[in-house]
Symmetry: C2
Subunit: 224 residues, 2 copies
């Protein structure tokens, strides 16, 4: 597994000590997310929209309606896909040193429109399983018509960075010495709640294990 090798635009300059170079940590941050933010350039202006994604090795798959403007704008064009976890609010003794604990994976590249049928299924499966593990096997498979209405995009993870902040606030020595002000971290967690069955399900329908046993995403937090 190659470490992350920054290119010019994937080099983290601000707070460079927060940059991580282990590809495994990039994978972990991507795999722990639910939605990414996809950025494209449309008529010279940036457009940033949330969307689902999935990962297979070093490829990130996105999908959407073939009619979606943002997906059409992403094909063979420069895109940026960002997955962010806010892990805590960092409360410092000074306003200036307030911060957040976070993990932020940023991927630059050209999105490739997947045309091969087998890879399209791989990509759709990855997106489905990422958002709803176990659903690909449990749910009805896509029909030819549904597949035709769905665009699948692939983005290589070659040009990616991961920035992570953890730990307590970093205050100026004078502020620590002065005392009298609270400082610390308020953790932020993303958690899954009790599944809410569809009202159209027969009332005696059991919730299957792949839905009930889903572990909270926060369990995949990266430690410092």
């Amino acid at each position: 597994m190659q470490p992350l090798s920054p290119t010019r635009r994937s080099t983290i300059r601000r707070n460079a000590q927060r940059a991580r170079s282990a590809r495994s940590e990039l994978y972990a941050a991507l795999d722990a997310g639910l939605a990414c933010h996809l950025g494209v350039v449309l008529d010279g202006a940036p457009v940033v929209l949330p969307t689902a994604y999935g990962r297979v090795d070093d490829t990130l798959y996105l999908h959407g309606s073939t009619g979606a403007r943002i997906l059409r704008a992403a094909v063979e064009a420069p895109v940026c896909v960002t997955v962010t976890h806010v892990d805590g609010v960092v409360i410092a003794r000074s306003v200036f040193h307030h911060s957040m604990n976070y993990r932020s994976a940023v991927v630059h590249g050209h999105a490739r429109l997947v045309t091969d049928d087998a890879e399209r299924r791989v990509g759709l499966r990855a997106v489905t399983e990422h958002v709803a593990p176990g659903s690909w096997e449990h749910a009805r498979q896509p029909t030819r018509k549904e597949l035709a209405a769905t665009a699948v995009l692939a983005l290589d993870l070659a040009e990616a960075s991961l920035k992570v902040r953890t730990g307590p606030p970093v205050d100026d020595d004078e502020d620590v010495a002065a005392g009298g002000r609270w400082a610390g971290v308020v953790p932020v967690r993303t958690e899954f709640g009790q599944p809410e069955p569809c009202p159209l399900l027969p009332s005696d329908t059991a919730t299957p294990p792949h839905v009930t046993t889903r572990s909270p995403h926060e369990s995949t937090r990266i430690d410092a």
Copy 2:
């Protein structure tokens, strides 16, 4: 309060029934977020990074180091700021109808560099209070040097949209009739944990009310 009046690029085309037009709902979605995703165009390519923000009426404030490339790229240039809440994973009877429940606020515009000292303080206060309510009064105020190192940007909420999906999956009638497959929603919540005091605090330091009483952000969820 003016309703949201879509321009060409803030008109929601895909699943247009999910578009909301009440400005109060836009405010609620923005106010309930922790980080936004700021998109800019840098060397012809999109760059999307998470950052803190705050709102005062119809102005969104961003801040950062005066040395940050993305902030410099945002000044007087087209930007897109997106705040997304993932509220649930929508598990359908078919792979095709899988979805997410979400609220997504998208703001287009040109970011203005705030140069007036009074407005700079208003902006910084808004960002601080958004992330850590009560901190502006409790923490040490910024020094002249700290202020000089901080850029404050303002973005008008004139060109903004809000897209919201709520409720159970929408499956094809045949799949509902066929039965045998679970469908429903797994709620996703963002929650605050127990405050973790800075290790440098004296051990008898009480955690102040503005930190302990923070209510979970999910309490501001928008109902259908």
